[in-house]
């Protein structure tokens, strides 16, 4: 339930058991990886051999506001309008 709430997924109490079983399967599948001997392999974060891909600090044209807001589910006075953001406490 904690994972579901972090991911903003609505999970019914009745479904938790089956989800849990599925997630366990996925996680234990990943465990196969830990059986590989990596003693002589340096940790890898990136799949591509790239580094220092930089951009110069030069402004580019931004989107027009109409275009920026065109996909917004709701808008108001040039703002994106979103539902109340604090949880009930």
């Amino acid at each position: 339930m904690h994972v579901a709430s972090l991911s903003r997924l609505r999970v019914e109490e009745s479904e938790t058991e089956s989800y849990q079983a599925e997630l366990d399967k996925i996680i234990s599948y990943m465990d196969i990886l830990t059986s590989v001997d990596t003693a002589n392999t340096p940790p890898t974060t990136y799949a591509l051999p790239m580094e220092n891909v930089f951009r110069d600090d030069v402004p580019k044209e931004s989107l027009s506001r109409e275009l920026a807001l065109s996909n917004a589910p709701d808008e108001e006075d040039g703002y994106f309008k979103v539902p109340r953001v604090l949880e009930e406490s």
Binding site: L6, Y46, A47, E51, V53, F54, R55, D57, F80, P83
Partner: protein, 480 residues
Amino acid sequence: MQYEAVIGLEIHSELKTNTKIFCGCKTTFGAEQNTHVCPVCLGLPGVLPSVNKKVVEFAIKAGLATNCKINEYSKFDRKNYYYPDLPKNWQTSQYDLPIAEHGFVEILVDGEKKKIGLTRIHMEEDAGKLVHSGTNIKDSASSNVDYNRTGVPLIEIVSEPDMRSAAEARAYMEKIKAILEYIDVSNCRMEEGNLRADINVSLRPVGEEKLGTRTEMKNINSFKALEDAINYEIERQTEVLEDGGKIVQETRTWDPARGVTLSMRSKEDAHDYRYMPEPDLPPIVTSKEEIEAYRKSLPELPDARRARLESEYGLSEYDATIITSSRDMAEYFDGVVATGADAKQAANWIMGDLSKNLNADSIAIKDSPVEAKRLGEMIGLIEKGTISGKIAKQVFAEMWKNPDPPEKIVKDKGLVQITDTKAIEGIVDEVIAKNQKAVEDYKNGNKKAIGALVGQVMKASKGKANPQTVNQLLAKKLEE
């Protein structure tokens, strides 16, 4: 029981780049809502961010200026959380390999020097701005979001929990601000949110090593709020503990109008953010040579400048600390001294009348109507004896409104000091004649009575008589 406060700060500073950290949108403050946005900072699918080189340069400089070790291999990570101020549902930040780590700065509080440790400095993107429809965040049915600020580059400077009072926290934040100003990487305009702090406060019994449960207050953007919020929180936690209660680990907001902190939400643990390496941004590799080149490019920093003002001009540590606390003030001081004015006088005028007037009119020192050059000239007039220190206060007040050179103002207003002994002698005689009681007192051994007489002479001369001459003449005449 006696408690000790343990305080740590996370300072967020917006960097003064032209463009955002991962896209070419402008960073200008105060633009119309949602006009500085593009597919990258709006988090639209399929976009590829790329790092602004200036951001890395500025972050490395900030690290070096705060005695940090620069990590030669650094990377970005995604910090996942759901809040509409970040449209991607994660903040691109740095987790385990920040650009800089293990630094310190020195602060001076009540004449005592103290080292405050820096855990780390990392680069990240700022979030958007929420405008709430209700009177505050808690009773708003909906919120409006402006994404102009989303993606503005930030460095987050995380301190060790080394501070023990609000005054120390303030001195620390002032030092960080000064350093960032000196190395010219942030505008540090606190009222625009360029520089803001998250404060962690906990209490523990004096002598105890173990840290108590902490609370966090976010987005404090003035020195006054910083001190007030910390003092309030120390008091609140003391009361809770003394009543046998427990501190809840939570985020609280500071309400400056009511002067209280209020509970906001329970703090999510670090693992809840499910950090993962940002696959779209390759790592940042900086060679030792590049780091050394950055180190060499740094200007004189506040501590070095303070030491120089002490040794070169004989300023006290306290004065030198205040003068160097902002780069603009230090530059102003240099400007005054460059005119040949005495350095101690310069410091006194800057910390006294100048600061008072600037504060009263809310003017930044670099926009001061009394420029460094004119203040220097005015101090020169005092040194030459053209005006007395007392009259100088009037001259200064006039200079505030009048752009003329001080010499002209002194002449036009007839404020030139009377040094002519004959003229002063006349006034002295008159005062002696009118104040027989003080004269008697003096002659009966109450030497302090001369003070009242000096005052009378100064008053009669409208402050223009040279006080030394007055003293000498009075003493001579009273001994006769």
